[in-house]
Homo-oligomer: 162 residues x 2
Amino acid sequence: MPRMDGCGPGGPMGWRGRFKGCGYRMTTGREAILDILTVSEKHLSAEDIYRKVTEKYPGVGLTSVYRTLEILSNMGIVYKFDFGDGRARYELAEGSKKPDHHHHLVCTKCKRVIDYTEFIDEEVELLKKTEKGLSKRYNFAINNHLIQFYGLCGKCKAESPK
Amino acid sequence: MPRMDGCGPGGPMGWRGRFKGCGYRMTTGREAILDILTVSEKHLSAEDIYRKVTEKYPGVGLTSVYRTLEILSNMGIVYKFDFGDGRARYELAEGSKKPDHHHHLVCTKCKRVIDYTEFIDEEVELLKKTEKGLSKRYNFAINNHLIQFYGLCGKCKAESPK
DNA sequence: TTGATAATGAAAACCATTTTCAATAAGGAG
DNA sequence: CTCCTTATTGAAAATGGTTTTCATTATCAA
């Protein structure tokens, strides 16, 4: 069993390099999963990814998808989200380019998720400051944050009982 | 089946009044659950609540705890959280007093959760602004937000492989 | 007090995720 | 290129938090 820690986020190496560096082997399945995540729309479930992967590589099992996603998540290559619909959602952590960074707006009724990038800069700036304060105050090594807004989307709002 | 919607958060009535107003009946079990939530430490799991409730009222079942928590959550009386340990956590929404408002700092290894109130005012101020912008931009009726920081607590940081 | 029906507990079902385990394949050594 | 160690795999079974089912009980308006 290769080590799962000490391989935190960040670093200039490509995925393959990062994998190797952490003692993992690069397999067809893992490559396929990373490809899907790179190309696809955001916040896919494990099952979503499984379906897309097997379109091209029918041999890959759902179990492996889960296993790979856990590794990627631990390495900080993938973020894991919970939008309240009973299954985890995954998306590739943003690359080096800034415009990728976004937060989520979740409809608590139909579970639709909207990515937004507006106001992000201010949010991130404040978070950075908070992060620094909290790290010191509570002796935490913070390496991620989560911001989500919850409410009713236009459609669900209209359908809702007055 | 009483209506579960249109009974959003806020409002000056006590719980009993809110319940009645929404067509729910007040029972021993529900009262006990609310009591526990009021008195206890933060972020309890359904099972935690179940155990505490049955200490005093052995008749109450786990199923009812889940059912009640869902209602309370839908009414905005209780917040439901996911800290990544496979079970939902619940805490009473803060009362009218400000100092209650807090966000969470989660250790991704041992899952320990720390409530913090520092920086909250600035965070909330910014969130309010963002909320307004997002509501208009995406036609969402936003009624809640979530901020969490993830990292390693001091203990887990020390134990981690260099 | 009474009657309509909301709420309940126990047990079974559900279902996303994990674990088990024997078979396979990645990749460094030679 | 071949061998060998062992990480990885898929299938099936297990897990475990949460939901459903359903017959019984309790709430509360009239």
